[in-house]
Point group: C2
C-alpha cells in the first residue's frame, strides 16, 4: 500500500439550495444538488495545492484508494494518484467528484425530484458539460479553494477541463485536457446515438420509468459494448483477443457468441448494467454530444483567447475516438495567441483507453508538469534550477551554444526549433531569465523537457511552423537542425515572420577538409560535423556558408551577424567558407531591421 492513498470514503455535500439554485444551459433551474466527492492528500495552509480530477462517461468520484481493507478494486485512476505517483498526494490535495447527471451519488435522473417526490427519470433536465463544471466550481468554493493548482481529466473529463479554463480563467493555474476534443465529431455522436437507440429500444425502458422494475439492461449493455469497442484500438483488440475462440478449438456452427472478443463484450456489458443507470447514460452521452466550444465562441482561436492557465495537452497515437488531430487543432488555436501550452502525442497501442493505461509516460509527464506549475506558483520560476554542470546536459560538444548565449538579450522571449531535451532553454532561462518555448518531435525528449519545466510542443517542422502571431518571439533558434528541414524556404519565411531575429547554426559543407576530400578523392566528404558516410546519414541537405548567404538574399533576409567556428570552436575571422566547420548566423527580415 506504499503508493496508495489507502482507505478512502466518498463524501457528500448539498449545494444550490433555494434560492441559490443552479441555472442550467437549457434555461431551467435545479436545486438542491447533492454532490458526491472524494479527496486525497492534505490541503496546504495557503490553499494553493488543490488539483481537481474530472472523470469520464462511466467514471465516478472514487478515483484512488480503496473503500475498505478487502476492497479488490481501487479507484479508476489509482495508477496516477497517490504518494510519489504522477499526481503526488504527498504534495497535492486532490479532489474528484461525480458529475451532475451521474448515478454514483451526485444528483441525476435517478434522484428524487423534490417537486414530485418521485425519481426524475426523463423529467430530469438535459444538462451540458458546462453545467457539470458549474457544480464542480461550487464544490471547490465550498472546500475553501479560490484558485485550483490544476484541473486534470481524460475524455469527457478533458471537456470539463477545457470548460474550467475557458469559463473561469482566473480560477485555474494549469489545465491538463487528455485524449479529448473541443467538439464531438459526427462519428462519435453517431456511436452515442446508436447506444441511446439501443436503450430506448429495450422493452424494459418504459420511457425511463423503470425504477423499481426490471431495468433496460440489454439495451444498456449494447450501448456499453459499442462504447467499449471505440475505447480500444484495432491493434490492441487484435493483441488482446485476435480471433481466438472462448473454450473451443473449432467453430461450433451456431449463432451464439463464441469468439473471445464476443464473450468479453458480453461480460463488459453485463458488468456495466450492475453499476450504471441507463437514464444517466442517456443524459451524459447527450451532454457529450452537445459539447462544442467553437459553437459558443465563434472560432477555435476565440475559444482560447482569454485563457490564463498554463496548458498541458495530451493525446494518444492510436486513439481514434478523440484522435490526435483534435488535440493538435486545439494546440494550434492556443498558439495563434501564443498561450503557454505544452503538447505531447503519446505513442501508445491502447487507443482511447490509453489515458487509463499508459501510467509510466503519463505519470512522468504529469509529474514534471505539475512540479513546474507548483514551483512557478511558489517561486515565480517555472523552469527547474540547473543542478549539474549544464555542459553535461548537452549531447556532444556543442561549440555553438556559448555563441548563441552571447547573442541573446536577458529577459527576452525565445523559441527553440528542435529543442531536444530542453537543456539550451533551461540554461537560457536560468542565466538570462528568458521566456522560452520549444518545438520538438521526439516523445522522450519532450518528456525530458517537461521535467525540466520547459514549455514544449510536439510538432514536425516538416509540416511548417505553428501559426504564432507575427513577431511573437525576440529570437528563434534553429541550431544544427537545418540540414534535416525538408522545406527550408517555408520554414525560414515563417521563422522571420514570427520572430524578430533568427539565430541559425549549421555545418559548413565547403570547409577546406571537405573540399580536399571531394577534389582529390572524388568522394562525398566526411568531417567532424558531418561524420557519416553517404549511405548512413539522415542529413538531407548539404550547404556551405555561401549557399546559406545566397539563400538569405533569395528569401529577403538580412544577415546581421555571422560567427564562423573551427573544429575546436575557435572563431574564424577570414576565409570562413573555406576554413569554418560550422557557422552561427543572426538574420532578420529585410524590412524589419
Amino acid at each position: 500500500m506504499d503508493t496508495s492513498v489507502g482507505i478512502v470514503k466518498t463524501q457528500s455535500v448539498t449545494l444550490f439550495e433555494k434560492p441559490n439554485e443552479l441555472k442550467l444551459d437549457c434555461g431551467q433551474t435545479l436545486g438542491p444538488v447533492v454532490v458526491a466527492y472524494e479527496t486525497y492528500g492534505e490541503l496546504s495552509p495557503q490553499h494553493d495545492n488543490a488539483i481537481l480530477i474530472c472523470h469520464a462517461l462511466s467514471g465516478d468520484a472514487h478515483a484512488a484508494g480503496v473503500h475498505h481493507a478487502d476492497d479488490p478494486k481501487p479507484g479508476w485512476w489509482d495508477n496516477m494518484i497517490g504518494p510519489d505517483k504522477g499526481i503526488d498526494t504527498n504534495k497535492y490535495f486532490v479532489i474528484c467528484s461525480n458529475v451532475l447527471g451521474g448515478c454514483k451519488g451526485t444528483t441525476g435522473p435517478g434522484s428524487i425530484n423534490p417537486a414530485t417526490g418521485k425519481k426524475w427519470g426523463l423529467g430530469f433536465p438535459v444538462i451540458t458539460i458546462a453545467d457539470m463544471v458549474r457544480v464542480q466550481k461550487e464544490l471547490v468554493s465550498h472546500l475553501g479553494i479560490s484558485r485550483l493548482l490544476a484541473v486534470i481529466g481524460g475524455s469527457m473529463g478533458g471537456m470539463q477541463v477545457l470548460e474550467w479554463a475557458i469559463r473561469y480563467p482566473d480560477r485555474v493555474a494549469a489545465a491538463v485536457p487528455i485524449a479529448t476534443t473541443t467538439r464531438l465529431s459526427a462519428q462519435a455522436i453517431a456511436f452515442n446515438a446508436v447506444g441511446r437507440n439501443a436503450i430506448a429500444a429495450d422493452p424494459n425502458f418504459c420511457a425511463g420509468e423503470y425504477y423499481g422494475k426490471a431495468s433496460p439492461g440489454r439495451g444498456l449493455a449494447i450501448a456499453r459494448m459499442i462504447g467499449h469497442i471505440t475505447y480500444l484500438s484495432e491493434d490492441s483488440m487484435h493483441k488482446k483477443f485476435g480471433r481466438t475462440l472462448r473454450n473451443a478449438d473449432n467453430y461450433k456452427y451456431e449463432l451464439e457468441s463464441e469468439f473471445s472478443v464476443e464473450t468479453y463484450l458480453d461480460y463488459q456489458g453485463r458488468r456495466f448494467v450492475e453499476r450504471f443507470d441507463a437514464n444517466s447514460y442517456l443524459y451524459i452521452t447527450k451532454a457529450i454530444d452537445y459539447f462544442d466550444l467553437t459553437a459558443s465562441f465563434g472560432s477555435m482561436e476565440q475559444t482560447f483567447a482569454n485563457i490564463q492557465s498554463r496548458f498541458l495537452v495530451i493525446s494518444f497515437s492510436s486513439d481514434w475516438l478523440f484522435p490526435p488531430s483534435h488535440s493538435e487543432q486545439m494546440v494550434r488555436a492556443m498558439l495563434a495567441s501564443n498561450k503557454d501550452v505544452t503538447y505531447c502525442n503519446i505513442e501508445s497501442p491502447y487507443g482511447h483507453d490509453a489515458f487509463l493505461l499508459e501510467e509510466k509516460v503519463l505519470g512522468d509527464i504529469l509529474g514534471g508538469f505539475l512540479e513546474s506549475i507548483y514551483r512557478y506558483r511558489r517561486t515565480g520560476q517555472a523552469v527547474a534550477p540547473l543542478v549539474e554542470n549544464p555542459v553535461k546536459h548537452i549531447n556532444g560538444t556543442r561549440h555553438e551554444y556559448p555563441v548563441i548565449e552571447e547573442l541573446i538579450r536577458p529577459n527576452s522571449s525565445v523559441l527553440d526549433l528542435g529543442c531536444g531535451n530542453g537543456s539550451l532553454l533551461q540554461i537560457l532561462a536560468e542565466r538570462l531569465a528568458i521566456d522560452g518555448r520549444g518545438i520538438e518531435i521526439q516523445q522522450d525528449r519532450i518528456v525530458e523537457s517537461v521535467r525540466r519545466g520547459v514549455t514544449v510542443i510536439q510538432h514536425d517542422l516538416n509540416t511548417g511552423l505553428p501559426k504564432y502571431p507575427d513577431d511573437t518571439f525576440d529570437y528563434i533558434i534553429l541550431s544544427q537542425t537545418l540540414p534535416e528541414v525538408q522545406q527550408p524556404e517555408q520554414v525560414f519565411n515563417e521563422m522571420l515572420r514570427i520572430g524578430k531575429i533568427a539565430i541559425v547554426s549549421f555545418p559548413n559543407f565547403a570547409s577546406w577538409q571537405a573540399r580536399i576530400q571531394f577534389l582529390i578523392k572524388g568522394r562525398a566528404p566526411i568531417t567532424s560535423y558531418m561524420p557519416e558516410a553517404w549511405y548512413r546519414t539522415e542529413r538531407i541537405r548539404f550547404l556551405s556558408l555561401k549557399d546559406f548567404e545566397d539563400f538569405c538574399r533569395r528569401i529577403g533576409a538580412k544577415i546581421i551577424q555571422k560567427v564562423a567556428l573551427s573544429k575546436n570552436g575557435l572563431r574564424i575571422p577570414l576565409l570562413d567558407n573555406f576554413l569554418a566547420e560550422q557557422a552561427v548566423y543572426v538574420i532578420a527580415r529585410e524590412e524589419k531591421e
Copy 2:
C-alpha cells in the same frame, strides 16, 4: 442511358437438387438451392469473357441497370458495370448472384425448409463464405462457363473472390479482391456481434420465428446503424454531416435525435429494415466472422501458394474496417511465392464505402487490368503493344535507358524499382519479351502502369523490399532512384538477394563540373542531372562513382560492368569519376558470380 446496361431482370435457377445436395462446411447438406442472378453483356462464342461480381453484406444480384423504365434506383455497382465503364459490358459477360443465406431470391433463412414446409428461421444451417462460393461455382457451370475471366468483389465480395482463386485456381484467370481481408479482425467481429445482440434483444425477434408477424425492425435498424458508421470514415462523416442540426439552429435540450448524423442513421436503419431480413443479417455476419483463410491453410504464404490467377488487390487509404494493412499483408504473402499481383492503395476520404464511390480511379484501374487479362487470354501477351515512339513515354531524356536495354537478355525476368508509369517495362516486354514487375509509390503512375498492362505493386522502397524468394528475378533495375533511397544498405542487400543481377544508374556527384563549382565557388553543385538548389531538391544523397564502388565492396557486391555517360549520353572510357555525369553499374553478390 448511354452507359447503362438498361432494363434488366433478376433470373432464378434451382441447383443442388437431390441427390446432388450442397455439402456445407458445417457438415450438413442443403438442397435444392434456388439462386437469384442477373447477367449483363453477351457471352462470347468461346465463353472466355465472363466476369463474376460478388456482392457485400447488404447487396444482392441486382448490380447494374434498372428493373423498369421508371426505376429511380439502379443496381448497386451501376457506376462500374456498363458499356464503356470499368467493367465494360461491350466486351465482357457479367454475372452477379445473390449469396447463399441472403434474402433477395437465393435460398436463405427466410426460404421454406422442404423437410418441414415452414420457413427455416434459425433452423437454417450456419454457412460460410466458402459455401457461398460453392453455390456460385455451380451457377457459373450451369451458365456453361468453365473458366472465368475474372472474379471481382469488394468487402465480403472480396472474401468470395479470395475463396474462388484459392479453391478453384484453374477456374479463375484473374481475381480482384477490393477493400477486403483474409480474416476478419477482432474489432470487426465485435461490431458484428453487437449488431447481432441488438437483433436478438428485440422483443419481436422471437428466436427468429417472426415471419408473418412484426419483424425485429428496431434491432435490425440498430445493427445497420453500427455497420453504417464503420463503412464511413471520420473525415467523410465530418464533411457530410459535421455537427449540423436537422431542421434547427439551436439545441432543443431534449433527448431525441437532432443532429443530422443521427437522423441520417435513423433513416438508414428504417430503410434497411424495409429491404432486409434480420435472420439473413445474422447468418451473413456470422459467415463473415468465420472467414479466416490462414486458419484453413496454416499461414498466409501457404494460403496463396497454389493460386494461378493474376491478382489485382485494391484497398482505400481511409478504410478502417478492412484497413490497407490487411491488403498489404495479403500482397506480401503472394509475393513470397512471386505470384503475379498488382496492388494499389487508392487515396480516398470515403472509408470502406469507397469501393462503391471512387468510380473514376477504380474504373480506370479495373478497365486497364481487365483489358490486360483479356489480351493475355486471347494473344498470350499481357502488356499493351507500344503505339507511339517509346521515347515519348519517357520523362526527359533518359540516356541510361538504351544502355539498360542492351544489358538485359531476352525472355528474362525483370523487377524495376521505382518503375514510374511502366514505360521501361513496357519497352522491355515489347522488344525483349521479358517478364516484368514494377514497384512504385505514386498512385497515378500505378494506374498508368496498369493501363499499359504492367504488373506493379504500390510500395515504399524506404520500408525495404517485399520478401520475394531468393533469385526470383534475372535483373533488378534501380534507375535514378538511388539518391532518394533512405536505407541504401538494406535495399541493396535485398536487391542482391532476390535478383541475380542488379542494374543501377545514378548521377555522379563528383563530375568535373560539380567539383569545380564546389572548389572554386564553395557552393553545393548544380548540374544537369542534379538541377535543383540545395533548398529545393528532394534527393537526399549525393555520391560519386568512387563512393558507389566503395559501397559495393562494403556490402559484398561485385561490379560486373560499368558504363559511364557524359551529359549527352556519350560513353566515357577513362577518368569516369571526373568526367561522367551519370553511370550505369551491373552488380551481383560476390558469391553469386
